[in-house]
Symmetry: C2
Subunit: 192 residues, 2 copies
Amino acid sequence: MLAEFETYLKTQANFTDDEVKQICSSAECKKLRRKEVLLREGDVCRYKIFVCKGLLRTYSTKPDGSEYIMGFAPEHRWTTDPESYHKQVPAAFTIDALEDSEVLLWNKVNFDGLYVSVPRLKEFSENIITQNLYRSQRRILSTISSSVEERYDEFVSTYPDIFARVPLHMVASYLGVSRETLSRIRHAQVKR
Amino acid sequence: MLAEFETYLKTQANFTDDEVKQICSSAECKKLRRKEVLLREGDVCRYKIFVCKGLLRTYSTKPDGSEYIMGFAPEHRWTTDPESYHKQVPAAFTIDALEDSEVLLWNKVNFDGLYVSVPRLKEFSENIITQNLYRSQRRILSTISSSVEERYDEFVSTYPDIFARVPLHMVASYLGVSRETLSRIRHAQVKR
DNA sequence: CAAAAACGAGGACATTTGTCACCGTTTTCA
DNA sequence: TGAAAACGGTGACAAATGTCCTCGTTTTTG
């Protein structure tokens, strides 16, 4: 599991072998079964998470039990509850596995410790956060400026790999519409 | 104008006098008139921006001329086009002033240079970015899980200072609905 | 100061979307 | 493997929202 992460680190940023070794040494490997929960809403998020294999989902639950999907994290994506991790406060989101998955975990103490021995990790980490910010902003612009159909098409073409692996009702939730609405849109598209 | 920023720096993070001086010395002060454009969509965003006085707006324009408001930046808020600044690529957003404003600007070379002389600035900067990420995520959750009326109430109570200073049609744009829809919601509320 | 622009509201109507109920198929898992 | 759950779709109807229009007031600006 670590081997895959090592090649990721070397291709993404050009960390040295020694730096890679350091980063790996403070990671915790964890296998997740489908539906297994990694972080529960209300708990403090203890980890930064890197997905080696599989697919994670981040969502929020309303009192009536309905779920709202904030995002998906497939292989080679980092994820966490940023606010909970950063400030060590109760999490707003639940993170669970949509497929059997393999993840690497770093707790805050260990990860912050790495900043000392691997200074460049700080830049790398900031890059990851900033990328998540771009993604969020694009999604916001998309929701306030585009029709549901346009947003659906955008999702399919931007994340074809994810689209192929998640049920449609989760895509609907991600887009902020009902299952039925998404179904109608798809139906209208096949006719064309 | 710098005096205000200095007190901000000392209260927010506890930078030393010397660090504050360093940070200020590479800033560029700029006064903006209402409606003046600081960054134009398509140009490369050269600056990190700190608002000392006034109110800035970030928005995106569609080919038909319609504007979609990504956010507002009042006093003591940092703003920029993150992707454009970070990667020095054409900006997706326009930033202009809704009121006569005073801002401080740092270009990427200068700001990155500060990381060397003021190492703690890196943490501080990452904090700002992470806060923006929280904010974006809350907004996304809000749009996919709440009614327009709830989102309107949330906006008013979360940003009462901003709400009092921007026209309603911009709030509507920010929420992703038409002016008329917002008008109806407000009308329904006064009756209660 | 006066003309022009911006602003907020409101009505009428079409369109989109949500909700509810139901159905058949596929997948899951004990 | 067999029952149960999950999944995707559909129709009917109500509710929410967009669009287009007009109107009167306020604000801006030359």
